[in-house]
């Protein structure tokens, strides 16, 4: 339950934070929330990963859908003949890694105090 709540808050806070903060704000958001929710170190990375991946991948997927895949088709071609949806996966993974690292840091930090 706690993990799920962490996930929901991370997505919400992450979404807001990214409107005006640099891309790596997701690390801080997941970190602080992981600290507050006191996630277990063992699950923290994957919880952060899942939340951030959902946020990044979901947002990218939404923009891609509204755009009918026009841009992702061209950018996919640019980055090495990838179909557009692969870019959504990459986006989710990049977001996930940093969300996961943030959550892990928050959890480890909590152990220190």
């Amino acid at each position: 339950m706690r993990t799920i709540l962490f996930g929901i808050f991370t997505i919400l806070a992450g979404f807001i934070a990214q409107q005006f903060l640099p891309w790596w704000a997701i690390v801080a958001v997941a970190g602080v929330l992981s600290f507050i929710f006191d996630l277990k170190t063992g699950v923290s990375f994957w919880a952060g990963f899942a939340a951030a991946a959902l946020l990044w991948g979901g947002y990218a997927g939404y923009l891609n859908m509204v755009n009918e895949g026009l841009l992702s088709a061209r950018v996919g071609k640019l980055l090495g003949d990838m179909p557009g949806f692969v870019l959504i996966v990459i986006t989710a993974v990049v977001g996930g890694i940093f969300g996961g690292l943030g959550a892990l840091l928050g959890s480890l930090g909590r152990r220190l105090v």
Partner: protein, 815 residues
């Protein structure tokens, strides 16, 4: 232990962040991946529609009164403003909204500032732009603009409009190219508009062959040079019809000036700098009501330029109490360059006059501070050019020396005392005039009749254009208009000695004496970059002139009666070429079919059957191209030897001259190849060339080939990002046919205007209004253009006009 774990994770995270925030990591071309993939600010944000403002109503500082903008179904803005400067402001704003990166990169390119964002790979390009003095030229133009506050106000308002848009942007809104290349937009300024204007001057009036012609003459000898490079193609049908009377007293040209008339006869040991595309040209014409079905004049124009995405043109309508005008603009300049209003229409093609001459500089000292002029040392003006290069701590500094001729562009490594300076009309500060470039186009946009058109052109200098004109009242006209140097015969054809001031141009042709015609008896006027006037025009000029399109257009227009708009579209889309008509006849007359193989004979038969149209599915045009090219190479082996074996820049003869020689002098020794022992004539060359051509085609394509596949036309991205190119298009067309579609070059805007009671116009360009590769308006007109379709242009009568559906509208109020 916990502490170690924490810090390990922390360090790993920080390192990863740095890695993903690194633009072009490890020397790769990749953008910073974290920034780029971040859906809230990276490239995904360009998938949002950025083509329309988020609000239907907003305020901006800098406007005087409210402006209304209607975006039609093709994203063409229709701007309704209370005055000219507000219209220019809105034009700047909306141009920036759709074409911001194009604005940025084209000015970087012309001013030699690409390396600032692209790094080492563009350093030589930048250095050349600085040496050619493009910034110097733009500063001089701005000096003139600044003399007139009302003109400067237009340029300033346009600039303010662009900057108002830029100020609204968050990094997430930047065009995707900024994100890929990792930099951000910087403010616009009037100087940048002047730079953009000079970019057009460079593209259209930067052509010259002085160096190549000097070398050809020195190495081939006077007699062979005169034989291979006649100045005049006797078959050209000039822009201003033969028989036009020159009712003016021409200025006198001094034929002999002290010690100066010596033509240099030495070889100029330089490789030549890149030149503008020699195909930059265009068609335009106007047909008088006496020849049209409706009894009203029709005007047509299609400028041929390098085709890019986004396009060089941006379509729009401007309406103020003084004007209601529609047409295409150049992103970077306020106003409309080619267009029409409720009274008149106008269009342009390029004038091929050589207005770029080269002068050999003889230095007095090794430091190259003083050069020789009329036996006296003269100080050069030194201008330091600091080129910022991304990835370098300090800018690269280059010193460009300015002489009385202009900047020293060529510096010789081998002979430290002999360089070459460039004399170019586009460098000059315009003399005092009642109005300048902004005033020219404002006068055309607000023009009502011939007098307005004629007056407007008196202010226009560079790049020289053939301005075609038609008015509702029935007038048609054409002026070869620009700043043309007064030259002695042959002057400027070759590199000249810069140590004699007598080698300078002797002034300029007065605007009232440029070749021009109004309402000729023929019932039409037309230009396609051919010679300006018949040889009886009293002034000498040289340059690069088209040989075939102009003849064909004149031939067709002369034959046409009851002309309709559809006829004019069909002529713009006509794939017929006189080059093929005459070239094929000449080649077929000489080829010895008896020695050909059976399959080669079948291919020869295709040429016998050909109608000389470069249609997309035809095979004959491919065979013709290969055959003519091979014949050319074998015939002019003397010239190829200089270019290829000796690596010396040299002029190549024109194709019309080859065809003329095939027709008239097939026994001439020029057809004898130097490398062979036997004596050859054109017959042997042509036959062998055909066999080689067939073998080459077979090797490359087998027997399954056609003109469109061979030509492989596609519209490339302006910044050479291949993923943003158009696909390869299926099209006909040929450089020497009216429909001059080539591989990456061709009709960049097709327009036909009928000046009836209600002015109606049709147009299309190979691109889209939006520069965003994620927009559906990025390339939405490309296929229509390739298929030869036109749009009925929505010339709105007022802001409430809804005769065509619209996409959206918005209002900008002053703040």
């Amino acid at each position: 232990m916990q502490l170690v774990k924490f810090f390990t994770a922390l360090v790993a995270t920080v390192l990863l962040i740095l890695l993903f925030d690194w633009h072009q990591p490890f020397g790769s071309p990749l953008p910073a991946l974290g920034r780029f993939f971040n859906p809230a600010a990276g490239f995904w944000q360009n998938a949002r529609s950025l083509d329309t403002p988020p609000l239907g109503q907003f305020q901006l500082p800098g406007l005087q009164q409210e402006v209304q903008v209607v975006l039609d179904e093709r994203l063409v803005p229709h701007i309704f403003a209370a005055n000219t400067t507000d219209a220019a402001f809105a034009q700047g704003y909306i141009t920036a909204m759709h074409r911001l990166w194009q604005l940025d990169i084209s000015v970087r390119q012309v001013s030699g500032r690409l390396s600032e964002v692209l790094g080492e790979r563009t350093l030589e390009l930048d250095r050349l732009q600085r040496r050619k003095g493009l910034v110097y030229a733009a500063q001089n133009a701005l000096v003139a603009w600044e003399r007139l506050p009302e003109e400067m106000a237009i340029v300033q308002a346009y600039s303010d409009g662009i900057n108002a848009y830029i100020r609204q942007l968050k990094p997430r809104d930047y065009p995707i190219e900024f994100k890929l290349l990792g930099y951000k937009p910087e403010p616009w300024s009037p100087l940048k508009s002047a730079l953009f204007f000079k970019n057009m001057a460079q593209t259209l009036s930067g052509g010259n062959d002085d160096l190549e012609a000097s070398n050809a003459r020195a190495l081939l000898g006077e007699a062979l040079f005169e034989f291979l490079y006649p100045e005049l193609n006797p078959r050209q049908s000039p822009i201003i019809p033969e028989g036009t009377t020159w009712d003016f007293q021409p200025l006198e040209i001094k034929k002999d000036t002290t010690g100066a008339v010596t033509l240099l006869s030495e070889v100029i040991e330089h490789q030549s700098i890149p030149k503008p595309n020699r195909f930059n040209g265009s068609n335009n014409w106007a047909v008088s009501g006496s020849k049209t079905a409706s009894g009203k004049p029709i005007l047509a124009n299609d400028p041929h330029l390098t085709l890019t995405l986004p396009s060089i043109w941006y379509e729009l309508q401007l309406q103020t109490p003084e004007m209601n005008v529609y047409g295409v603009s150049l992103p970077g300049l306020p106003g409309i360059i080619i267009g029409f209003n409720e009274h008149i229409a106008w269009g342009v093609t390029n004038v091929g006059h050589d207005v770029t001459d080269w002068y050999k500089i003889t230095w007095v000292d090794e430091a190259k501070k003083r050069y020789l002029l009329d036996d006296q040392p003269r100080e050069a003006t030194l201008r330091e050019e600091a080129i910022k290069v991304r990835g370098r701590d300090r800018p690269v500094v280059d010193t460009v020396r300015y002489t009385i001729w202009g900047p020293v562009v060529y510096e010789s490594a081998e002979s430290p005392y002999q360089d070459m300076a460039m004399r170019w009309v586009a460098h000059d500060t315009p003399e005092n005039k009642p109005f300048y470039d902004m005033g020219v186009f404002l006068r055309l946009m607000t023009g009502k009749n011939y007098d307005d058109y004629s007056e407007a052109l008196t202010g226009y200098d560079v790049p020289a254009q053939n301005f075609v004109f038609a008015a509702k009242n029935g007038d048609i006209a054409l002026k070869v208009n620009g700043k043309f140097p007064l030259k002695r015969p042959q002057q400027g054809r070759f590199v000249q000695d810069g140590s004699f001031s007598g080698n300078a141009w002797q002034g300029f042709i007065p605007k009232s004496q440029v070749p021009q015609v109004r309402n000729p008896a023929l019932g039409f006027v037309a230009s396609a970059n051919q010679n300006s006037a018949a040889p009886d025009y009293p002034y000498y000029y040289n340059g690069g002139f088209d040989d075939y399109r102009g003849r064909y257009i004149n031939r067709r227009l002369a034959a046409m009666e009851n002309v309709t708009v559809e006829d004019m579209k069909a002529l713009q889309l006509d794939n017929y070429s006189i080059k093929a008509e005459e070239g094929v006849a000449a080649l077929l007359a000489l080829v010895d079919a008896a020695v050909l193989s059976a399959t080669d004979r079948q291919w020869l038969e295709k040429l016998h059957q050909w109608d000389f149209r470069f249609e997309k599915a035809a095979q004959a045009p491919v065979i013709f191209e290969y055959w003519l090219r091979e014949t050319y190479k074998q015939t002019f082996d003397e010239v190829y030897k200089i270019a290829e074996q000796d690596s010396i820049a040299v002029l190549f003869p024109e194709v019309w001259r080859l065809i003329e020689l095939l027709e008239a002098e097939p026994e001439h020794p020029i057809f004898n190849r130097q490398a062979t022992k036997v004596q050859e004539t054109a017959r042997a060359i042509v036959t062998e060339a055909f066999q080689t051509a067939c073998a080459d085609i077979r090797e490359q394509y087998g027997s399954d080939f056609n003109w469109s596949d061979y030509k492989a036309t596609r519209i490339a991205h302006l910044g050479r990002i291949d993923a943003f190119n158009s696909p390869i298009l299926s099209t006909g067309g040929y450089g020497d046919a009216p429909n001059a579609i080539k591989r990456g070059h061709g009709p960049s805007w097709r327009m036909v205007v009928e000046l009836g009671e209600e002015v109606q116009a049709w147009g299309v360009y190979p691109g889209g209004q939006s520069g965003n590769p994620g927009s559906r308006f990025y390339d939405n007109m490309v296929q229509q253009w390739a298929d030869g379709e036109y749009h009925l242009l929505f010339f709105m009568q007022n802001s409430a006009d809804r005769k065509q559906p619209i996409l959206s509208e918005f209002k900008i109020a002053p703040r």
